[in-house]
C-alpha cells in the first residue's frame, strides 16, 4: 500500500494532504528556505500520531514535525523529501487553576492559551512576537523566548511535562505536575530539541499570575551606545525589569509609518522598559529606570499613562517585523546572543558590517538578555544582494561568538546555523550531542539533518579516537 493510502486509512482522506498544490506551503517556514514535501498528515490525538509514526517508519520516510511554521531557522523545512506531521489539530486546554498549570495541545496558539486562562488572572509567560500565530508545540520545539523572558525565563522554565511520541511509537509522559520528577530530566532535553527527538503532542505548562501593577517606560537617545549602556546600568543597579527592549532609528521610523505607536523617530535609539509587580514596588523601580536612563544621556523619558498607551507601545514593538515590508520586499532576520556587557561593542560592529556590505540593517531586540536581532532589509531581485546578505550574516555570527556569545538566543539552529555549530562546540561536544539524539531516535526518523552538522557523530561508542585517526 502507498504511504498516502495508509495514512488515509488512519486519518481519513480529509486529514492527509498529498496534492502538490496543497502541500507546497508546508515546504517552507517564515524564513527563506524551501524543501520537498511528500505528504502532510494532520493527526488530532497522540494515538493517531503513533500510527502515523509507525507508517512513516515502515516506509523509511523522514518525519518533519510542524506547528504554525513561523520559525525562521529552517527547523520545519525538509532536507530530503519528507512527511510533514502538522500538530495544529491538537488544540485541547485543561487548566488546573489551583496548581497554576495547564495541559495544552501542541496546536494551541500561544496567545490563545493566555486568553483562555485570563479569567483566572493567569498567563503563559513566554511571549514571542509571533505569539498570535505560533503554537505551543513550536514554542516547546524551539524553547521560544519573547520580550518578557528577561525576568520570567524562556519556554523551558515554564514546561513541567511533555507528552512525547517516540520513534518506537510509544507515548511517553516525561515530567509531571509534582516538583522535581525522579530520574533524569528528559523533559528539559526535549524542550528546544527542534523536533529531532520525537513529536510533542501536549505539554504541561506553568501558568504565571498576572501582575497587579505595571509601568512601561520609553526612553529616547541620541546614540545606540547610550541606550545599550542604560541596559547594563539597570541590571547592574539590581533591577531585572519584566522586559527591556531596544529599537534603533531605522526600526522606529518603519514602525511609526506602520502602526503609529508614538516612538520618537528623531532618536537614534529607544528603549522600552517594563517593570511589573506589587503596586508599592513598580513606582520605585520605574523611577530607578528613569534615573539610570537619564544618567546615560537619555534625551527624553516617558511613562505610559494608561493601559491604552502601554498596549500601543507594545504593539509597535511586536509589529516591528511586519513594518519592515514598507522598507524593502525581503528581509533576513538574525538571532544571536552576547553577554549583555558586550552590547555596546557588538552593536558598533553590527553597523560597521552593514556599512561595509552596503546593506540596510535595522535593529530591534531583547537588549536585557543580550539577544540581538539585526535585520537586513533588501530586494532579492537585485543581482548579488543575497550573497552580500549571507556574507554579512556569517560575519555577524562570528563577531558575536568572538564576544563570548552564542549562535542563537531563541530562534533555534535548524538548518540556518547547523553548519556554524563548530564555531561554539568542539567535535567531542557535538559528538556527545549526536549520541544523545541517537538515544531517542536511533534511525534519525525525526527531522534528520537538523541542529547538528553532518559528521557530528565522529567517534566510536566507547572511547575517543586518537587525534589524526581517519574514519
Amino acid at each position: 500500500m502507498t504511504l498516502v493510502r495508509e495514512l488515509q486509512n488512519v486519518l481519513g482522506a480529509g486529514r492527509v494532504l498529498a496534492d502538490p498544490l496543497r502541500t507546497h506551503v508546508y515546504g517552507k517556514d517564515a524564513g527563506i528556505r524551501r524543501g520537498e514535501v511528500v505528504a502532510v498528515a494532520l493527526p488530532a490525538t497522540a494515538g493517531e500520531v503513533v500510527e502515523v509514526v509507525k507508517i512513516a517508519a515502515r516506509h523509511s520516510i523522514p518525519i518533519v514535525p510542524r506547528g504554525a511554521g513561523t520559525g525562521l531557522a529552517g527547523g520545519t523545512v525538509p532536507v530530503s523529501p519528507s512527511l510533514i506531521v502538522s500538530t495544529t489539530r491538537m488544540t485541547g486546554i485543561e487548566a488546573d487553576v489551583a496548581s497554576r498549570t495547564a495541559w495544552v495541545g501542541a496546536g494551541v496558539f500561544n496567545l490563545d492559551l493566555s486568553h483562555h486562562t485570563s479569567p483566572y488572572g493567569l498567563h503563559f509567560a513566554p511571549d514571542p512576537s509571533s505569539q498570535a500565530a505560533c503554537t505551543i508545540g513550536g514554542n516547546v520545539a524551539n524553547n521560544s523566548g519573547g520580550p518578557h523572558c528577561l525576568a520570567e525565563g524562556t519556554t523551558v522554565n515554564h514546561v513541567l511535562a511533555v507528552e512525547l511520541v517516540t520513534a518506537a511509537g510509544e507515548i511517553l509522559v516525561l515530567g509531571g505536575d509534582a516538583p522535581d520528577p525522579i530520574g533524569l530530566d528528559l523533559r528539559g532535553i526535549v524542550v528546544g530539541s527542534e523536533g529531532t527527538l520525537g513529536i510533542v503532542t501536549r505539554a504541561l505548562v506553568k501558568l504565571t499570575p498576572n501582575p497587579p501593577a505595571v509601568r512601561t517606560l520609553l526612553a529616547a537617545y541620541d546614540s545606540v551606545e547610550d541606550a545599550a549602556a542604560t541596559v547594563s546600568g539597570i541590571i547592574g543597579a539590581g533591577v531585572v525589569p519584566a522586559a527591556l527592549e531596544m529599537m534603533d532609528q531605522m526600526m522606529t521610523t518603519a514602525v511609526e509609518r506602520f502602526v503609529g505607536a508614538g516612538f520618537p523617530t528623531d532618536a537614534a535609539a529607544v528603549l522600552l522598559a517594563e517593570v511589573t509587580g506589587h503596586p508599592a514596588a513598580v513606582d520605585a523601580e520605574a523611577e530607578l529606570v528613569r534615573q539610570v536612563a537619564e544618567s546615560n544621556r537619555a534625551t527624553h523619558v516617558r511613562v505610559a499613562v494608561d493601559e491604552a498607551e502601554r498596549a500601543l507601545l507594545w504593539k509597535g514593538r511586536k509589529a516591528a517585523f511586519g513594518a519592515v515590508a514598507q522598507t524593502a520586499p525581503d528581509y533576513y532576520l538574525h538571532d544571536t546572543v552576547v553577554p549583555r556587557t558586550k552590547l555596546v561593542e557588538v552593536m558598533a560592529k553590527v553597523y560597521e558590517i552593514a556599512a561595509r556590505y552596503d546593506l540596510v540593517m535595522m535593529n530591534v531586540f531583547h537588549a536585557g538578555d543580550g539577544n540581538l536581532h539585526p535585520l537586513m532589509a533588501f530586494d532579492a531581485s537585485q543581482e548579488g544582494v543575497l550573497e552580500r546578505v549571507q556574507a554579512a550574516a556569517d560575519e555577524l555570527v562570528t563577531v558575536c561568538v568572538e564576544a563570548g556569545g552564542s549562535l542563537s538566543g531563541e530562534h533555534g539552529i535548524g538548518l540556518e546555523k547547523r553548519d556554524l555549530m563548530p564555531l561554539v562546540f568542539t567535535e567531542v561536544d557535538l559528538d556527545a550531542q549526536a549520541r544523545l539524539a541517537e538515544a531517542f531516535d536511533p534511525d534519525r526518523l525525526f527531522n534528520p539533518d537538523k541542529v547538528l552538522p553532518a559528521g557530528s557523530r565522529c567517534f566510536d561508542i566507547g572511547r575517543p579516537v586518537p587525534e589524526g585517526t581517519w574514519i
Binding site: D180, I182, I189, E285, F425, D429
Partner: protein
C-alpha cells in the same frame, strides 16, 4: 581487593587524597585538581569497570540508591570561582566550590545564585547533581533554571561542554539542564555557569500563626510548618512594608530560614501544589515538616521508621502522580525501602541516554531510580 587498591593507587598516583569522613572507608580516594585530571581518573575507572562514588560536601549522599565504590572521587580540589561577571549576572564555578562560600562571595555585590539557603557543607556540584533547590524556588524557580553551561566529564573520560555563558541560549541540546538532578549518571559535573539574580534592598520574614489560601502576589518564599507559617519578602523597602501590613502577623528584618526538619530520617514529599495540604494532613502527627505551598514539596522529618506507614503514604502519593523520596536515613532503612519508589515512565530511554555518557556505568551506578 588489596592488590586492586595498590594497583589503582599506583595508576592514579597524581590524584590521590586523604580519606573523607563519612565515605566508604575501604575505597581509594582521589581528588583531581583539573577537569582533565578528572577525565583521566574516570577513563581509568571505566577501562577496568570500577565503580566510582562522586563526593562533594557529602550533604546529599542520603538521596538515591546505595553505591559500593572502589574509588571515591572528591571534588575538593575543583574549587575555583572561575569567572564572575556581575553586570552579566553570570558566574562560572567548579563543582567543589561550597554553596555557602559562593553565596557569601556573590553577596558582596548584592547578587545570589538562588542556591539552597541552609545547605551546610554542600558544594555547587552536589546541589546541581542532586537537583535540590532552595526555599526561594517559589519565586525564582528550581536550581535547574540557573543552569546556563556545564562541563561534564563523562563516565568514559571525555570532557563535554554544553550550553553557553549567556543568559538566553538555544544552541544545541540543553545538556546543562539535563545535568541537574542527574546524580552522576552522565559523569562528573566538573564546572557550571549559573544565572544570577540581584539581591533585593529590603528582606523580611513575616510569621503567621495560621495557614492561608494565599500569601499575596508572588512572595519570595513561603514555608508552612505545623505550628506556624513563615512568609519571606524581598524588594524595595516600600514594597516590603506594604506587604508586611497586608499580611499582618509579626515580622523580623532579614530572612530567617528554618533549619532542616528534625529526625534521624528525612523524606521529600512531592505532589501537585493543589494536593499538598491534603497530603500533609494525612501524615502521622509525630512527623515534622516544612511545606512549600505553590511548589508542592514538603521536607519531612521523623525518628521512627515504620515501613508500613511510610509505604502506605508513598502508595497514596504515587497514585496522585507524586513521589515520596528518602533523603537521609540509617543504612538499614535502604535495605528494606526503595529510596525512590516506583521508577518513572521511560526508564528504557533513560538507560539509553545514560549509556551514551557512561557506557560502562561506573559513576554512581544504581543511584538513580530503577537501579540505573
Amino acid at each position: 581487593m588489596t592488590s586492586v587498591r595498590s594497583a589503582l593507587q599506583q595508576r592514579l598516583a597524581g590524584h590521590l587524597s586523604d580519606p573523607i569522613e563519612g565515605a566508604p572507608e575501604d575505597a581509594v580516594f582521589v581528588a583531581p585538581a583539573t577537569l582533565e585530571g578528572a577525565a583521566e581518573v574516570l577513563a581509568t575507572a571505566s577501562r577496568y569497570a570500577l565503580p566510582v562514588l562522586v563526593w562533594g560536601g557529602g550533604t546529599h549522599q542520603g538521596i538515591g540508591g546505595r553505591v559500593d565504590p572502589v574509588l571515591v572521587l572528591s571534588t575538593a580540589r575543583l574549587n575555583a570561582i572561575v569567572d564572575w561577571q556581575p553586570d552579566d549576572l553570570t558566574v562560572v564555578v567548579e563543582a567543589g566550590v561550597g554553596v555557602a562560600d559562593l553565596e557569601a562571595r556573590l553577596g558582596e555585590r548584592r547578587q545570589t545564585a538562588v542556591l539552597p539557603e541552609t545547605s551546610g557543607d554542600a558544594t555547587v556540584g552536589g546541589v546541581v547533581a542532586a537537583g535540590v533547590s532552595g526555599f526561594r524556588r517559589l519565586r525564582y524557580g528550581p536550581t535547574r533554571d540557573r543552569m546556563l553551561e556545564v562541563d561534564l566529564i563523562t563516565g568514559d573520560g571525555r570532557v563535554v561542554r554544553g550550553g553557553g555563558r549567556v543568559v538566553k541560549n538555544v544552541t544545541g541540546y540543553d545538556l546543562p539542564r539535563l545535568a541537574a538532578g542527574s546524580f552522576g549518571s552522565l559523569g562528573l559535573i566538573g564546572r557550571v555557569c549559573l544565572k544570577l539574580w540581584p539581591l533585593p534592598e529590603a528582606r523580611r520574614t513575616v510569621t503567621l500563626t495560621e495557614r492561608r489560601p494565599e500569601y499575596g502576589y508572588r512572595p519570595l518564599a513561603v514555608v508552612e510548618e505545623r505550628e506556624q507559617v513563615q512568609v519571606y519578602l524581598a524588594g524595595t523597602l516600600a514594597e516590603v512594608e506594604a506587604r508586611t501590613a497586608e499580611l499582618g502577623g509579626t515580622y523580623q528584618e532579614g530572612w530567617q530560614w528554618p533549619d532542616p526538619p528534625s529526625g534521624s530520617i528525612t523524606l521529600s514529599l512531592r505532589v501537585a501544589p493543589r494536593l499538598l495540604r491534603d497530603a500533609l494532613d494525612e501524615l502521622p502527627k509525630s512527623w515534622t515538616y516544612q511545606a512549600l505551598p505553590g511548589v508542592g514539596e514538603a521536607r519531612v522529618g521523623l525518628d521512627k521508621f515504620e515501613l508500613r506507614t511510610v509505604s502506605e503514604i508513598r502508595h497514596r502519593v504515587e497514585k496522585q502522580g507524586g513521589a515520596l523520596v528518602l533523603t537521609s536515613a540509617p543504612a538499614a532503612v535502604y535495605a528494606t525501602f526503595d529510596p525512590w519508589g516506583t521508577p518513572p515512565p521511560g526508564m528504557d530511554l533513560q538507560r539509553r541516554v545514560v549509556a551514551r555518557f557512561d557506557p560502562d556505568r561506573i559513576v554512581n551506578p544504581g543511584r538513580l531510580p530503577g537501579g540505573l
